[in-house]
Every structure is written in structure tokens, then in C-alpha cells.
């Protein structure tokens, strides 16, 4: 569902190359994009899910629509009995998130989000260091994404902005790197110097007695747009015995 940038550059190439997935249908309201994305004659096409025939033989839907349409698209897919993989950001409010996850669980369907940064080689390396215990209890996680060209021109970036579009990847890494649980406090700040933009987000966890003398644990994520000449993602993890 949705044939924009991420579908054309990430999902459709993978699905087309996969020997274990057959593409059954493509849905997009744009007729031109729909025609160009329909790689085989036997692939059904429709401008919306309701346009697909009821007996379409499908198991899994990949939702790549602009993020502000994710919740309704996922709900329609679950109602049809399809497992769902959704591009990030999953949805843009926690009520929808809980409702959709609960609906999927009730129907015995899988619902997962493409928060794929946690599978990057460098992230996996740091996660391994953390899980090994060599760094001790995690006290600080710092994540930064600098983009030379500002907000991505994709539908995701345009429809919900940099915080949701880029922040989803960074924030997901907090839990990919550690088992901190739910934060006790969250704060964000922003700066807009057109065309530059900087967003900072800090989450705090209450320190546990006996581990770091009760000091709070901090995780910070920052998105800097237009302040640099080259895209770059950086991260650091500090434990009470070491850092990576």
C-alpha cells in the first residue's frame, strides 16, 4: 500500500527479488505511480484497499502510505485478516498504537513496524557490547542524525515532519540498545533558522538504588537539518563501567 519513495526504493525491490513472497496487489491513489509500480500483469491494482476484490488471496500487507494515513490503512488491512508490516513512523498517537496492536493480537495477526535502524551493523555492535555487560548498567545514550538537505523530500517527511519521520528511528534505538523500560520524563526543544532546523529530545529514567548511586539515566536524540554538508548519524552509549 503506497508506492512512494520507500516502496520503490526499499520494499518493492526486496519483494520482487524474494523467492518466498509473491506480490498480489498494489494500492495507490495516484494512477501513474500505480501503473509504473505494477511490475507484472497478474498483480491487482486499486486506488484504495476497498477497491480490491474481497477474495484477494493475500497474507501480508506492507503499508508505505504517508504516515498520517498509517492508522486507517493498518485498520483496514487487519479487518481483512492480513498481517501487517508498516513503515515508520508506526502511527502518530499512542491511542491508535495501542488500539491497533490490541486489534492485531485479538485477531491473531502480526503487526510490526519497519524500525530498521536497530539492524545496522554499528548499532548491533554497540547493542552486543551493552548486552555483554562489559559497559555495566547503561546511564546515558546519545543519538544524533545530521542531514545536509533538511527534511526528507519523501511523503513521510512532508506529511509529519522531521521529529516523527527521523526521530522514530533514533528513539527506537534507545530500546534496541538497552532494557531501560518506560521513561519517567520526556522533554523536547526545537530551533528553526530557516532553512535550518534542530530538534532535541531527552528522555530520563529514574536511577535505581545501588546502580550509579541513584543518578538518573538519560537518553538524548537530536536531529539537525541543514547545518552540515554531509549526512551523518552518530551514537554513544555510556555505562557505569565503560562506553562505546
Amino acid at each position: 500500500m503506497g508506492t512512494g519513495w520507500v516502496a520503490q526504493r526499499v520494499h518493492l525491490p526486496y519483494i520482487s527479488a524474494s523467492s518466498s513472497i509473491d506480490l498480489a496487489a498494489i494500492v495507490d491513489p495516484d494512477p501513474a505511480r500505480l501503473r509504473s509500480a505494477a511490475v507484472a500483469a497478474d498483480v491487482a491494482t486499486a486506488p484504495r484497499i476497498g477497491g480490491l476484490r474481497d477474495d484477494l488471496d493475500a497474507d501480508l500487507a506492507v503499508v508505505c502510505t504517508p504516515p498520517d494515513g498509517h492508522a486507517s490503512a493498518i485498520a483496514e488491512c487487519l479487518a481483512r485478516g492480513w498481517h501487517v508490516i508498516c513503515e515508520k513512523p508506526f502511527v502518530t498517537n499512542s491511542h491508535d498504537a495501542r488500539t491497533l496492536i490490541s486489534t492485531a493480537a485479538r485477531r491473531g495477526l502480526a503487526l510490526r513496524c519497519c524500525q530498521t535502524s536497530r539492524f545496522r551493523a554499528d548499532v548491533l555492535a554497540v547493542a552486543e557490547e551493552v548486552s555483554s555487560g562489559r559497559l555495566g548498567k547503561v546511564r546515558h545514550i546519545r543519538l544524533t542524525w545530521r542531514r545536509a538537505n533538511g527534511v526528507p523530500a519523501s511523503g513521510g517527511g512532508r506529511s509529519v515532519g522531521a521529529l516523527w519521520d527521523l526521530g522514530a528511528h533514533l528513539v527506537d534505538l534507545i530500546w534496541a540498545l538497552s532494557d531501560l523500560g518506560d521513561p519517567t520524563d520526556i522533554a523536547a526543544s526545537g530551533m528553526r533558522l530557516s532553512p535550518q532546523q534542530a530538534l532535541r529530545l531527552t528522555a530520563t529514567w529514574q536511577g535505581e538504588p545501588g546502580e550509579g548511586a541513584g543518578d538518573p539515566c538519560l537518553a538524548g536524540a537530536a536531529v539537525h537539518l541543514g547545518f552540515c554538508t554531509r549526512d551523518r548519524q552518530c551514537g554513544g552509549t555510556l555505562g557505569h563501567r565503560g562506553s562505546s
Partner: protein
């Protein structure tokens, strides 16, 4: 892929936690983020979005390496609060 990244860290800083610690809080692993299917070679081997997605698609089972339902909700909750914070600041500035 993880072992290659770890190998890089160890080749530079050794296996000792003390040496890792001595390097300070910011061993930064750079990451060149180019076009989606271009290989990202940042000295830790290679990585790309297709490989990341392959891991996601490889199983629909609960748990494992998938971002869990709990993590999915947590990400939305954090961004929701941050978004609200930023909106309040925008209102105050305008």
C-alpha cells in the same frame, strides 16, 4: 554483520572494558547515509536497507529481533510527548 562491527571496535580499542572506558563517552561510529539501496561501507563491513528489511521480513513470529509491540508503543509515546512540547514552544514563540 554485528560481529564485523564488534571486530572493528575491538581492533581499535581491544577487548578490555577498561580500554573501552578510557576512550571516554563518545566512541562515535560514523555512518554514511546515502541512497537507500547503496551499500553503506563505513569500515565495519557493509550494510544496506535491503539487508535490514530482509531481517524484518524473515519472520512474523512474536519477539526475536523484531521491534516488539511494547517498543513500538514506547516510540510513539516518546515522540507524541516531544511533539506536544515543540508545539507548545511554537505557540509561545508566535
Amino acid at each position: 554483520m554485528g560481529s564485523k562491527g564488534t571486530a572493528l571496535i575491538r581492533s581499535v580499542f581491544g577487548n578490555s572494558p577498561d580500554r573501552l572506558s578510557a576512550c571516554g563517552p563518545a566512541l562515535t561510529i560514523g555512518y554514511l547515509n546515502g541512497s537507500s539501496l547503496r551499500q553503506h561501507d563505513h569500515g565495519t563491513g557493509t550494510d544496506d536497507y535491503a539487508a535490514q528489511n530482509k531481517k524484518l521480513f524473515s519472520t512474523l513470529e512474536e519477539g526475536g529481533t523484531w521491534p516488539s509491540a511494547v517498543d513500538m508503543v514506547r516510540v510513539v509515546e516518546v515522540l507524541e510527548v516531544a511533539h506536544r512540547d515543540l508545539a507548545i514552544q511554537d505557540d509561545a514563540a508566535s
